[in-house]
Symmetry: C2
Subunit: 548 residues, 2 copies
């Protein structure tokens, strides 16, 4: 008894990690395969780096500046003689390794280098509900292409990818913005001095975060943060950027650009005076191929298709006088043109100035794919599904290795969120079918049962022999049930003698199988007796009848 006191290891995943079973694994693999097909068709090449990099190569490029404590899993190698070991770490994204790869192999790689990568990344952060410390990323980047044609291509590819994995047109939108427009607005508002880019950095940080919180705080909340500051419901005060009223109005003009265009387009197409969200949804629905407004003359699709032009004109006025801002709007206009030429109208990709993207290193175009359909949240309230992918141009990432600036642009798809979205829409992979279970009535005739399973498999039918203790037949049926088996095969001594087998339809018989005895169970019409040599064809027919 004393021996039992030996402390056993806990059978637990580390905090913040989880296991994925069966269809969870295969559905993700299928999605990654479909994404890779699109990426490949666009000329992107696969790249797989290892999970481990030197801390030196990874650098301090953790993507979310709002959470500076977000960290990496790191450890030091053993020393070799007097030389202290390198610090190694698990990669936290797929972009930092790309920068290292391009710097390391640039003489052997084509330029521009289009590559895609998919795999797990690790974050040493506090786990939370639905927030794991290992998750999948799926990225495509173009390194060495300075023109916005590269950005436009990636936005088009993103739209094609979403449709390839099962998101219908109208159920998603790729929203494009440009950091230079934002910087132009900052310049006009007086918080960016082109001759001293470091100046007002603190204020700009507050402005950026305020814009990013528009959805949550509303116009007045953002306006307060641009000025003196804001007291939230709990009474906590957040200090603002300290902009004067006139400066703040410039930024607000930008923040409200989308709203104003929505209002204007809504008026033009005769929508009633409803909330922003309702107008947005109505305009949006007109993009959907099979949307509710496809036959509704009140909203003219052609009007709505002027979206990009409307927004661009609006932005052009806002940044007047800022070179940076004007070049940003010009880039957006060029992208919209390139996208239209590839069949990517504003029903798939729109210019949207509310896209900010947290990542500090973006330097030009930024984009985000949003799913526009509603799902029910944990409290049963409808809400938009939201963002599933994003990216942009980051021209300085390779420079830290080589000293040479190399332009780059890319996108990262949140595969797990996308899988959740498809599941929420009921468009996930069909639950993988369980195997045919060949039951064991006589354990001395295992070879006969294996032969049956083998014949079924040779015919492409998923099949297995029951390998648990065969004594209790009910357990074999419970097992088949748990496995989601479509069909069970039974051959006792009597059947063997008569050259037949029993073939049981478990889909038909699912309800009763759990409790019935073997005798009751044999009487059910869902079970048929077939000649042994017709086993394969009769099982196949039964499975086919189930799916019809």
């Amino acid at each position: 008894m004393a021996k039992d006191k030996i402390r056993r290891p806990r059978a637990e995943t580390p905090k913040g990690f989880r296991d994925y079973f069966g269809a969870e694994v295969t559905a993700r693999a299928a999605m990654l395969r479909r994404i890779a097909e699109v990426y490949h068709r666009y000329g992107f090449e696969a790249l797989e780096t290892s999970g481990v990099e030197t801390v030196e190569a990874l650098g301090k490029f953790l993507p979310d500046v709002d959470r500076p404590n977000e960290g990496v899993f790191a450890w030091q190698e053993d020393a070799e003689g007097d030389k202290p070991g390198d610090w190694l770490a698990l990669r936290y994204d797929l972009t930092a390794p790309l920068a290292r790869v391009y710097a390391q192999h640039r003489n052997d790689l084509p330029t521009p280098y289009r590559r895609y990568a998919m795999g797990p990344v690790w974050r040493n952060e506090k786990p939370g509900p639905g927030r794991f410390r290992q998750f999948y990323q799926c990225d495509a980047d173009t390194v060495g292409a300075p023109s916005v044609a590269a950005d436009a291509e990636i936005c088009a590819m993103l739209a094609d990818t979403l449709e390839a994995v099962g998101i219908s047109r109208g159920d998603y939108i790729v929203r494009v913005n440009n950091r230079k427009v934002l910087n132009g607005v900052m310049e006009v508002a007086g918080v960016l001095d082109p001759s001293d880019p470091e100046k007002f950095g603190h204020e700009r940080g507050i402005v950026l975060r305020a814009i990013d919180k528009l959805d949550r705080l509303g116009t007045e909340g953002v306006r307060a943060l641009l000025g003196e500051g804001r007291k939230d419901e709990s009474g906590d005060f957040t200090k603002g950027a300290g902009l004067g009223a006139e400066q703040a109005e410039v930024v607000m003009g930008f923040v409200e650009a989308k709203q104003q265009v929505v209002d204007r387009l809504s008026a033009k197409v005769g929508l009633p005076d409803v909330s922003f969200e309702e107008k947005w949804d109505a305009l949006f629905a007109s993009f959907a191929i099979d949307g509710p407004d496809a036959n509704d003359p009140a909203v003219s699709v052609d009007d709505v298709r002027r979206w990009n032009d409307e927004i661009l004109e609006h932005l052009e006025k806002l940044v007047e006088g800022s070179n940076t801002g004007e070049s940003g709007v010009a880039e957006l206009r060029e992208m919209a043109g390139l996208l239209a030429a590839q069949g990517m109208g504003p029903d798939r990709v729109i210019v949207d100035p509310s896209v900010v993207r947290g990542l500090g290193y973006y330097t030009g175009p930024v984009f985000e794919a949003e799913l526009t359909f509603e799902i029910l949240d944990e409290k049963g309230r409808p809400r938009q599904f939201g963002s599933v992918a994003g990216g942009g141009r980051y021209d300085d990432l390779v420079k830290r290795f080589t000293g040479q600036a190399v332009p780059a642009t890319g996108v990262s798809i949140g595969v797990d969120r996308l899988l959740a979205a498809l599941a929420a829409k009921g468009r996930g992979e069909a639950e993988a079918q369980g195997p045919v279970v060949v039951t064991v009535m006589d354990r001395d005739r295992m070879a006969d049962y294996q032969a049956m399973a083998s014949e079924l498999r040779a015919a492409g039918i998923r099949a297995e022999v029951y390998l648990g203790n065969p004594k209790n037949f009910g357990n074999q049926m419970k097992y088949a049930d748990r496995r989601g088996s479509p069909v069970a095969v039974i051959e006792g001594a009597d059947e063997k003698e008569r050259g037949v087998v029993q073939v049981k339809d478990l889909i038909l018989g699912a309800q009763i199988a759990k409790e019935a005895t073997l005798e009751e169970w044999k009487d059910r019409p869902s079970q048929i007796e077939v000649p042994r040599d017709e086993l394969v064809e009769r099982v196949r027919a039964m499975i086919e009848s189930q799916s019809s």
Copy 2:
């Protein structure tokens, strides 16, 4: 200038890690997909655990007892208040996580639980040539099935898997042995006392390692290690197990079992008196579907098919008097029968007493898949490719978590070795075809070029627009060459005006493209002018003509 002295990070993978590019990634993905299909058809379910486990859960199960210094990558979590952080580590195989998963989720999993897993594992060991610290494993295991039917099933699945990935019958063999036979031999030789299993542990270790080295040391070398010891070429002395002559003969009878059966079968089928290797190859060739001896009456396939029976009879005599040994031979006999019933004759799976497997934890059947064709080694000498997969029964792995012994058996495929084997046989994936490159003659008409690429892609043709600096046309052609492009598309102002495009066959024109000027280049017959609206069909026709 001083700023340049700032030390830049090295753009290097950590020692012992590497990057995989393009076809290296896609060929592996394709192989894993094919393996998963076979595993799935056998009723195995996918499982994906994270790369990180607690050190406590992983335990000290590093598989190779001969290299106890082989380690894991581990680090300690930050403390939470007074509580010291857990030690975490990267998994070193896929079996230890399976044990943890089964212990953690056993109430929700079916029993038996058949699962497969594929993914990277990490070893903190000294890297060497071709030896990396991250590599792929691809495992299938059955947990909770005590009978050898489970082991036989896995051997059959392994044979089917090898054929599914492109290894022809006759080019591989699955070799099966049983640890109990080995233990029976030890018992008969007096170095295993069933009433005190710990006794003679040291001697048995030496005996096991000696048997495992038969190929390298030859019969006499093994015999020396069983006795007093052996001096190698460098003069170093390895102490032996200290067995007496009679004891040693029992072990040698086992070691030579395969050789004796090969001799007997060779005599029976009239092979001349050649070396063991030549006899083995000749016997073996008769298994190959398309082998050289398929029509050679000197070697009767039926004779060779008696392999398993011959070996089993031989082993039976050797272990006479040891219960363990006799039960091992009975298990091997049962497996051979089950395998034959599944169409797995000795042309695919054979009993082979020379299989030892290093892993300490195996308790019953052990098996190994070997590729039997010859490749050239780094010095150009022919050698057998060797082992690509192995596994066996390990009944005690879950017990450390739960206190309950749970029988388990499984196989691990060395995916990277298998890929290397297929490449050596010239049966690897065809190099993925590069994209059609739409060149840029006029950078203001990027939208036109993007539209072309987009049309090609919509027709399923891999295509991209050149996104580098378009000024130097030669660079565009060099780029297309480096990308392995089959076709380049050219539309200058002149072509645009006339509503045509130039379509250039780069496979035909590969040699000249590198140096010719645009004008020379346009004259070549490998280039055709086609109406713009026939672009897609003419490009498709050109690509099809290349592969025919």
